[in-house]
C-alpha cells in the first residue's frame, strides 16, 4: 500500500505521473489531494515562468548585418579563388537567411505548438459524450473573455478556464458528428491571417477574430479532414456573441 511520502515524492519529481497506484492513493487521501492541488498551481506557474518572450530583432543586428558587411567589395566572380570564396560566403548567407526566415515566421507556428502542447496536458477533455456542460458553468468560463456561446450551435461537453501564455483562456470541447473538437478562445493572440497546423497527431486551424484575437479549433485522430475542421471553426465563430 502506498504511503503519503511515496506519493508526494513521486509527484514532486513528475507531476504529470498518471500511475494507477498514485491515483488510487489520491482518491483516498484528502491531505495528498490538497498537496496535489498545491503542486498543480505551482506547476502551472513554473510552465509560464519558463516561457520567456524571445523577440527576434536582435538576431538581425547581431548575425545577419555583420555577415552582409563582411562581403568583399569589388570581388571578381570569374576569378576562381574569389569564386570559391564567394560560394562559401553565399552558402553561409543562404544558411543564415534560411535560419532568419524561420525566425521571422516563428510566432504563428509557436502559437500552434503551444496550443497542441496544452492539449496534451488535458487528455480527459477529449471524451466522447452527450452530457453537456451546464449553461451557467459555460457562461462563467467565457465571462472573462467577454463572449457567450449560443448552445444551440453545438453540444459543449467540456469547459474550463485554462492558463495559456500567461492568460486565462476558455478551453471548450464541442461534440460534432465526427467526434469531439477542441476550441480555444485566444483573445490575447492577434493573428494576421488564418493558419493550418498538423502537429503531434492534432490537426487544426487558428483563425483571426477581428478585434478579439483569434480562435483555435483542432481535432485529433483520423476521422476528420482539415476542411471539416475549418467548417467547425466557421460554425463556432458564428455562434460566439461578443459582449464588448
Amino acid at each position: 500500500m502506498m504511503d503519503c511520502g511515496h506519493y508526494r515524492r513521486a509527484m514532486l519529481a513528475e507531476p504529470s505521473n498518471d500511475d494507477a497506484e498514485l491515483r488510487r492513493h489520491l482518491a483516498t487521501c484528502p491531505e495528498c489531494t490538497r498537496y496535489a492541488e498545491q503542486l498543480r498551481r505551482f506547476e502551472d506557474r513554473l510552465d509560464r515562468a519558463l516561457r520567456v518572450e524571445m523577440n527576434p530583432p536582435l538576431m538581425e543586428q547581431r548575425v545577419v548585418t555583420p555577415l552582409r558587411a563582411a562581403r568583399p567589395r569589388g570581388a571578381r566572380p570569374w576569378d576562381p579563388p574569389h569564386r570559391r570564396w564567394l560560394a562559401a560566403a553565399a552558402s553561409v548567407l543562404l544558411g543564415t537567411a534560411v535560419a532568419f526566415s524561420l525566425w521571422l515566421a516563428a510566432p504563428g507556428r509557436s502559437l500552434a505548438a503551444d496550443v497542441v502542447k496544452h492539449m496534451a496536458e488535458e487528455p480527459n477533455a477529449w471524451a466522447h459524450t452527450d452530457i453537456p456542460v451546464p449553461e451557467p458553468r459555460l457562461d462563467q468560463v467565457l465571462i472573462d473573455s467577454h463572449v457567450r456561446f449560443r448552445v444551440s450551435a453545438g453540444l459543449v461537453s467540456y469547459a474550463s478556464s485554462c492558463s495559456f501564455r500567461g492568460h486565462k483562456v476558455p478551453h471548450l470541447v464541442v461534440q460534432t458528428g465526427s467526434g469531439p473538437v477542441t476550441v480555444m478562445v485566444l483573445t490575447h493572440e492577434a493573428l494576421r491571417s488564418a493558419m493550418r497546423f498538423n502537429e503531434q497527431g492534432y490537426r487544426g486551424v487558428i483563425v483571426p477574430v477581428r478585434g478579439h484575437g483569434s480562435l483555435a479549433v483542432l481535432e485529433r485522430g483520423p476521422d476528420m479532414d482539415i476542411k471539416a475542421v475549418e467548417g467547425v471553426a466557421a460554425r463556432v465563430q458564428s455562434a460566439l456573441d461578443w459582449t464588448t
Binding site: C4, L12, E14, Q38, V52, M54, T96, A106, R109, A112
Partner: protein, 175 residues
C-alpha cells in the same frame, strides 16, 4: 540520380519542423545559458548545423531530443571557446532583468530569478521536462543518467525552487 522534387519536399518539411520548434529551443538555450545573447548564438549555430545534418534525422517524432543534443553540444563549444569566468548569479539576474520581467505577475519574476539560482544539474532536466515535454527516459538518455537519477534531480529541483519562492512546503516530503 538525385530527386529534386523529393528533396524540396523534404527540405520544406524540415523547415516547417524548425519553425515549430524554434521558440522553445531558444527558451531552452536561454535557461541553459542564463544569457540571452549567448542563447541566440547557440540556437543560430544549432539551426545551421541541423540544416546541414537534416538527413541524419530519420524520425521526425525524435526531433526534439535531436535538436537538444545539438544545442547542448553547441553550448559546450561556446563555453570552451569563451572560457567564461565564474559569475555572480545576482549579476546574471540583473543583466537579464528584461527577460525575467513579467508584465503583471511578480510571482513569475521571482520564480524566474529562482530558476537562475538553481544549480545547472537540476535546472537542465527541469526545463527539459516542463518546457520541452521530454519524458524521464528521454531526459535520462540525453543526460547520460539513469531514470532514478533523473527523478531525484527533478525532485530536488522542485523542492529547492519551492523553498526559494516561499511556497508553503509544510506538506513537501523529505528526501
Amino acid at each position: 540520380m538525385k530527386d529534386p522534387v523529393g528533396g524540396n519536399q523534404r527540405r520544406a518539411r524540415f523547415q516547417s519542423l524548425c519553425q515549430s520548434l524554434r521558440p522553445d529551443l531558444l527558451r531552452f538555450a536561454f535557461w541553459l545559458a542564463r544569457d540571452r545573447a549567448l542563447a541566440e548564438d547557440v540556437v543560430q549555430e544549432t539551426m545551421l548545423r541541423a540544416w546541414k545534418a537534416q538527413d541524419s534525422l530519420l524520425d521526425e517524432s525524435a526531433a526534439k531530443p535531436w535538436f537538444l543534443t545539438i544545442i547542448r553540444r553547441e553550448y559546450a563549444r561556446c563555453f570552451e571557446r569563451k572560457r567564461f569566468v565564474t559569475v555572480d548569479v545576482e549579476e546574471l539576474i540583473a543583466k537579464e532583468e528584461p527577460m525575467l520581467a513579467a508584465a503583471d505577475d511578480q510571482e513569475l519574476v521571482e520564480l524566474r530569478a529562482a530558476m537562475f539560482k538553481l544549480p545547472g544539474e537540476y535546472r537542465e532536466p527541469l526545463v527539459m521536462q516542463v518546457l520541452m515535454g521530454l519524458s524521464t527516459a528521454e531526459i535520462a538518455a540525453e543526460l547520460g543518467l539513469s531514470n532514478a537519477a533523473v527523478l531525484t534531480r527533478l525532485f530536488r529541483a522542485r523542492k529547492q525552487l519551492r523553498v526559494m519562492c516561499g511556497e508553503d512546503t509544510s506538506l513537501d516530503p523529505e528526501e
